[in-house]
Subunit: 121 residues, 2 copies
């Protein structure tokens, strides 16, 4: 299976808000990360953040997933609490990116599986 090329995350520019609460790199647990990724919508969110993002952070409206905002908020929070994504609050909006360095350090190869994932037919 071909492994998709993933762009490197951008550094947070000066003045970026602090991240919302999240587990530290050494606190990440494989079972928790897998639980957070055991859902097609969450895999789609993470895959799109990995493969399609150009800017640093993305508001959840960017995804165009056609789900109610309250439902998306729940899924983004689950991904953050498991340590898969980092979220920052910009005024009324939360923006997200994947914790590529932390996940590659702790679970090498995991994000390649997510990048290669395809939605159910």
């Amino acid at each position: 299976m071909a492994v998709a090329v993933r762009p490197k995350p951008h550094e947070a520019p000066p003045g970026t808000p602090d991240p919302l609460p999240e587990p530290a790199r050494e606190e990440l647990r494989l079972e928790t990360v897998m639980g957070a990724l055991s859902d097609p919508l969450r895999l789609e969110i993470v895959r799109r953040l990995l493969l399609e993002s150009e800017a640093f952070d993305h508001p959840c409206g960017w995804f165009g997933l056609g789900r109610p905002k309250s439902s998306l908020t729940h899924h983004f929070r689950a991904l953050r609490e498991a340590g898969v994504i980092r979220q920052r609050q910009y005024g009324l909006e939360r923006r997200s990116h994947v914790r590529v360095d932390d996940l590659d350090a702790r679970f090498p190869g995991l994000l390649d599986l997510v990048a290669a994932w395809t939605p159910p037919a």
Copy 2:
């Protein structure tokens, strides 16, 4: 992180019972496999099958996990239905092994993460 060496699975000897129902290799879904592995007990079962098994199939009593047999039966079934393990019925006993070839083909690197997993402190 060092990746543990995993033994190759043995071929099924002649006269081996047919596997219990399971998804075909091409039917395996990452989200389903991750869901099955989002539990410390299941990760422990799969890790031990990967790292410690010598013989072809293992009855669940071999694991010495100190859980009721009914609970273990449930977890082994969940792993089989997700496509992580293959189970065969030997008389009254079900024995299991990891579907290494199928998982390596579909989700390269996933079993290395399981082999490197350590239980929560």
